[in-house]
């Protein structure tokens, strides 16, 4: 690293880094290396299926661009930044030339300067220039506002910055419209609060030079498809007011940052993915907990294992971040960790949870304590993936595979120091995808990373945004709406006109469509499907709100009698007021927690394509089409703390959730089922096992989050009974794999195309699994609940596959 004026030049981004080291009684002079050495010698290493070293990276820097305004240079210099990292310099050059840019470099590599710098320069040279920043959450814009304001002040810019969201007071709103040079907001506010009133924001829209979209990777699936439409509307409005903004994106690890950014803004985007920031050496470890019951394929609890490994790190004074995949998991680990560290004379308050459901001030408190070193370990769901400003820590422990490679790397990316060793550990759970990863760990560095997928032309989403767009500006002939083809746009507008929400007026070149309804369409369009409308959780004893939860999680987490875990305490849900979005809880001391049981049912609406897999004596019908999926929480299980035994059940009465989507399905003819020597129920259960294996290989093959792909076994026709209570003959058992996103984002069609390969891969997964009778890693354990061991279930499935001509390839 070069030095300027006798001290090391410190590129920007380092500001964010690290913890202040504070001597605490428990602070022993040990670190990540010592913990690794101990694990290698104490037997822990026996269960490590993979350990991989990543070399340190020297910084790559560049001089300050000569075109940069002296005031901006001075402002950076005040922060000890006298030169830039190479990626920051590249971003500045491209952005200043008006090219759209996506920066996809690791956490804490100084990404924000990549977009702040060209904007500071633009404001310094033209005080009427405007920039719009979009962050996925309110909290993130508030985080950025303060540091940006400071930076702008130091750069002697006369113009201000303001966060505009639901919490912005009225008088500040007027100032925001008139005077803010940089407006920070979220897509929801832009969609419902700003664009439908764009005339009041004429100054912003007519001078809009840059649009920043941070945390690009969070805009996937439905949310991303909505955002792409919000951007299409934004571009229409900008065109109307005579501006054409440059887009600057920042993204964490995803497989397709460039393509994704291009789909969001609809234009070519330059990619910057080579970070010039230095990193110390890193060690990646996959730990697969040992099998404790070989017959059932049950492994030691991954939560407890993660807790044990974390405890070693905390004891050795290594600041550690623990990720769980569910809120429940996080709270269970928090409780265990606190119980354990007390024995080491460590203040349990040094272990803290961090998750989306916490109220903002709680989260701020935790962030501050973490920076100050009062908190040594944070247990989190993915809330930290959203770049809340705590910099990187020394170690990351992931309890369970987050479902995607991208998600795993985003979490692993949270461990990283400038010089010293950092450690990233994945503790695999017994669920199939985790086991797949644990058995093929090299894929972590060799396999491609998942792509963020969106479908901005998903018809439900498109129609909703066309309404909003028509409200904002009438649709003229030859009007552009993203890359939606003219004929599709015309058809969609006619559809809206038929329904009387827009009104066609004849013009010279064709009809002009005006909004013609006494309503405000943006209010009826939520960008985050249902999840934006939170439930509040009220403690009956304190009579105060302790947390919020999104609508979808409510069904599984806040049903009556559920144990809701919050900051290490257990609360029982006494009443769920579904209409008013309130859950009333009371602190209890149970020795169990609860998990919900859900049931889903698929009904075929319309078949689009069909094909026969005719490889042997039994032909299979495969199809692709539209389905209705109904999901319902039917009950819950009580799981005892520490032993994890199932100690009881309860019923849940909640409304079902219904959606339309696309599905791929595979039908086994009833005659074939009847012709097998085993009873029908056994065959149906075997097919359910097969569907599980298909789900695993399907999700891996498509490189998607398994939660984006739904799975069920049922009948093709609605009036027949679901398979769970179907002992007798009747329907043709059908395996459904469907897009869980309403309307579909294109997963099912790809499975349909690859149907034979999918079956072959499922067979390979089952064959290559070490278990005897089927385990959670392949076809799942026997679902019958009988103690009597079934006739080799795994062999049965392989036999069925033989019969339909899907044979072993090796």
């Amino acid at each position: 690293m070069s030095t300027v004026g006798g001290r090391p030049a410190r590129p920007f981004g380092e500001q964010k880094r690290g913890l202040r080291r504070v001597a605490k009684p428990w602070d022993r002079p040990r670190g990540a290396e010592e913990v690794l050495a101990r694990w290698e010698s104490d037997g822990t290493w026996r269960n490590v299926t993979w350990s991989h070293g990543v070399e340190a990276h020297e910084p790559s820097t560049a001089a300050m661009p000569p075109s940069l305004s002296p005031a901006v240079v001075r402002a950076l210099s005040l922060r000890g930044v006298d030169q830039l990292y190479s990626h920051q310099a590249d971003a500045f050059e491209l952005a200043s030339a008006g090219r759209h840019v996506v920066v996809a470099t690791p956490t804490a590599s100084g990404k924000s300067l990549c977009y702040n710098l060209p904007i500071l320069q633009a404001l310094a040279s033209d005080s009427s220039a405007r920039a719009l920043y979009l962050f996925p959450t309110k909290a993130l814009s508030r985080d950025q506002e303060e540091s940006l304001r400071q930076l702008m002040r130091d750069a002697e810019l006369a113009i201000g910055t303001i966060t505009y969201d639901g919490d912005t007071p009225n008088d500040a709103r007027r100032a925001a419209r008139q005077r803010a040079g940089v407006l920070l907001t979220n897509p929801d506010m832009l969609h419902a609060g700003i664009m439908p009133h764009h005339t009041a924001w004429a100054r912003l829209f007519s001078n809009l030079k840059y649009v920043v979209i941070d945390e690009l990777h969070t805009y996937r699936g439905v949310f991303g498809s909505h955002l792409a439409n919000v951007i299409r509307r934004l571009l229409r409005i900008a065109r109307f007011h005579g501006s054409s903004p440059t887009f600057l994106f920042a993204s964490a690890t995803i497989g397709n940052p460039q393509e994704h950014a291009q789909r969001i803004c609809g234009e070519p985007v330059e990619l910057i993915d080579q970070s010039g920031a230095p990193t110390g050496p890193r060690r990646l470890v996959v730990y697969n907990p040992p099998v404790v019951n070989a017959e059932l394929g049950i492994r030691q609890s991954y939560l407890k294992t993660a807790v044990r490994l974390t405890q070693d790190l905390v004891r050795a004074g290594v600041p550690t971040l623990v990720f769980g995949n569910s809120r429940n998991g996080v709270e269970v680990m928090l409780k265990y960790l606190r119980d354990r560290v007390v024995r080491d004379q460590i203040d349990p308050a040094a272990i803290h949870a961090y998750r989306g459901g916490y109220l903002p001030d709680t989260r701020r408190r935790i962030e501050a304590a973490l920076r100050a070193g009062d908190i040594r370990c944070v247990v989190a769901t993915n809330a930290l993936e959203l770049g809340i400003d705590i910099g990187a820590l020394d170690a990351v422990v992931c309890a369970g595979y987050p479902g995607t490679m991208a998600g795993l790397w985003q979490r692993f990316g949270r461990a990283g120091r400038r010089r010293d060793l950092s450690l990233s550990v994945l503790v695999s759970s017994s669920n199939p995808i985790d086991q797949y990863v644990a058995r093929h760990p090299r894929q972590l560095v060799s396999a491609p990373i998942e792509h963020a997928r969106i479908d901005p032309n998903n018809i439900e989403i498109l129609i909703q945004h066309l309404k909003c767009a028509a409200f904002e500006l009438p649709f003229e002939p030859n009007d552009l709406y993203g890359d939606v083809p003219d004929d599709v746009l015309a058809e969609a507008l006619d559809y809206l006109a038929d329904h009387g929400v827009i009104h066609p007026t004849p013009g010279h070149a064709g009809s002009i469509y005006h909004w013609a309804s006494d309503s405000y369409p943006a209010n009826n369009v939520s960008l985050r499907s249902a999840s934006w409308d939170n439930f509040v959780i009220i403690d009956l004893d304190g009579n105060k709100t302790i947390a919020e939860m999104d609508w979808r999680s409510t069904h599984t987490m806040l049903h009556e009698q559920a144990i809701y875990q919050h900051e290490g305490g257990q609360y029982q849900v006494e009443r769920l007021d579904f209409d008013n979005h309130k859950a009333f809880v009371r602190l209890v001391k149970p020795d169990y927690y609860t998990t919900a049981m859900t049931h889903s049912k698929v009904t075929v609406l319309e078949q689009d394509q069909g094909a026969t897999i005719d490889l042997d004596e039994v032909p299979l019908e495969a199809a692709l089409g539209d389905v209705t999926v109904v999901e319902k929480v039917v009950g819950y299980k009580k799981i005892k703390f520490h032993t994890h035994e199932n100690v009881g059940y309860g019923e849940v009465h909640l409304p079902e959730m219904q959606k339309h989507t696309t599905a791929f399905w595979l039908t086994f003819p009833e005659e074939f089922v009847q012709s097998q020597p085993e009873p029908r129920a056994v065959i149906v259960d075997a097919l359910r096992g097969l569907s599980k294996a298909m789900h695993v290989v399907g999700a891996v093959g498509l490189m998607i989050d398994p939660r984006d792909l739904g799975r069920t076994l049922g009948s093709r026709t609605e009036d027949e009974a679901p398979p769970s209570n179907a002992q007798g003959p009747g329907y043709d058992p059908t395996i459904f794999l469907y897009d869980t996103v309403a309307g579909g984002i294109g997963l099912a069609p790809r499975l349909f195309e690859e149907r034979e390969e999918l079956l072959r891969r499922a067979r390979h997964l089952i064959e290559s699994c070490d278990c005897d009778e089927g385990c959670p890693g392949c076809i799942g354990p026997d679902a019958s609940g009988d103690d009597e061991p079934e006739a080799a279930r795994k062999q049965l499935i392989l036999g069925l596959l033989d019969a339909v001509g899907i044979r072993a390839t090796h």
């Binding site: 439908p196 409200f471 009104h503 005006h514």
Partner: protein
């Protein structure tokens, strides 16, 4: 997946069907050619003797602009020439606001000599707003001020949107008198709701017959756009004209009753006017209206408040005897315990601080529990007893 089929599957209301066979009839008014395009205009004069309810609208010409400025709490109105005021009111495609809400009927009115001229600009087809906006802009440029009902919050922001949307330069806005806020200040003590129809009934004695309900107006216009009958639109036009006339009548009524005390007025109105005069530093007027309110035979709450207002003004100008008299009047008028307690607290303070009459202060202090709480009242009594003991 075909878009048509996907569209068909979307769960929305079925397409609207309309009886297009109905005879359309003719719109009132006529189409005029302007330099910015065709404009559909309904143009009308109301003679000087025209009354809206019992109020002669030409009275609006006599209002004092000084009083008007007080009524609106807006000094910008002090100098305006009321003869050149522009009254305006719009009918819109919705109440939601935002860029998708369109005023399809803009009513404007002004005085020409003693007659009220009313022009209503109707949008026969969406997208043809530019000529209307130019017309309104020109009228605003010739006006000294705007008079509306809720126009500051609703009509004007909406019009401003339309100027931007249609790329017509918005006019510079003269002072704007929003009668909703004025009426609320004066009438909130006796009217439950301050909607224009209520004001017409209660203040102007005007009862509209067969008036079209505001909530239905957007749909009537959409039906018209879809080729429906025009007679409902004619009713909307009449409704809008009535609203405009009501504005002129209401200005005259609200201001003239503030100019001098009208003995027949409701004492609660007198009280409101007294407060308003006090707020604008017009002490003489405040005193006369407060007196009218106190003597008007209104309910106890009104009478007591009027006396208290008199007392407050007397204290501020150092007329302690007047203050005492007013407070004692208030106490006599007060029937309810809590109110009595409040008055006695004021009396106690009056005697203690202004008149140094501790014995009388103590007499009233024992009754202040309801007004200031047990603890504070107790402390007050103890303090007065202590001071009294020291005196003797």
């Amino acid at each position: 997946m075909s878009i048509k089929r996907s569209l068909a599957r979307l769960a929305h209301a079925p397409p609207r069907s309309l009886d297009v066979a109905a005879v359309r009839g003719a719109l009132p008014g006529q189409t005029t050619q302007t330099e910015h395009g065709e404009l559909h205009l309904i143009d009308e004069y109301l003679e000087p003797r025209h009354h809206h309810g019992r109020a002669p609208i030409a009275n609006a010409l006599c209002v004092s602009s000084e009083r008007l400025a007080q009524l609106a709490l807006d000094p910008a109105l002090e100098e305006v020439d009321i003869k050149r005021a522009m009254f305006f009111d719009t009918e819109t495609t919705g109440l939601a606001g935002g860029t998708g809400t369109v005023p399809f009927l803009i009513g404007i009115g002004w005085f020409e000599d003693e007659s009220l001229r009313i022009q209503q600009l109707f949008l026969p087809e969406l997208g043809r707003e530019a000529p209307m906006l130019h017309w309104v802009r020109e009228r605003i440029r010739q006006s000294s001020c705007l008079v509306s009902f809720n126009g500051k919050t609703f009509d004007w922001p909406l019009l401003r949107n339309r100027f931007v949307m249609n790329r017509v330069r918005a006019p510079k806005l003269p002072p704007h008198l929003d009668l909703l806020h004025c009426a609320r200040r004066i009438l909130k003590r006796r009217l439950r709701s301050i909607r224009l129809v209520e004001l017409e009934r209660e203040v102007l004695g005007m009862y509209r017959e067969d008036d079209v309900s505001g909530a239905l107006i957007p749909q009537l216009y959409f039906d018209y756009l879809d080729g429906g009958d025009v007679s409902p639109i004619a009713r909307v036009i009449e409704h809008n004209a009535n609203d405009l006339i009501a504005l002129a009548a209401l200005v005259a009524e609200l201001v003239s009753h503030f100019d001098e005390v009208h003995g027949d007025d409701d004492p609660r109105d007198h009280l409101s006017y007294a407060r308003l005069a006090e707020r604008t530093g017009d002490r003489g007027r405040a005193r006369s209206f407060a007196k009218a309110a106190a003597d008007g035979g209104g309910d106890a709450a009104c009478t007591v408040e009027a006396h208290l207002l008199t007392a407050r003004m007397a204290r501020r100008s150092g007329d302690f005897e007047d203050e005492e008299r007013a407070l004692l009047d208030a106490l006599r008028a007060a029937t309810e315990d809590e109110l009595r307690s409040t008055v006695q607290l004021l009396l106690s303070k009056h005697y203690e601080h202004r008149r140094k009459d501790l014995a009388r202060a103590l007499e009233h202090a024992v009754a202040t529990t309801l007004a200031e709480g047990e603890e504070a009242s107790h402390r007050r009594v103890l303090r007065l007893e202590r001071r009294l003991a020291r005196q003797t």
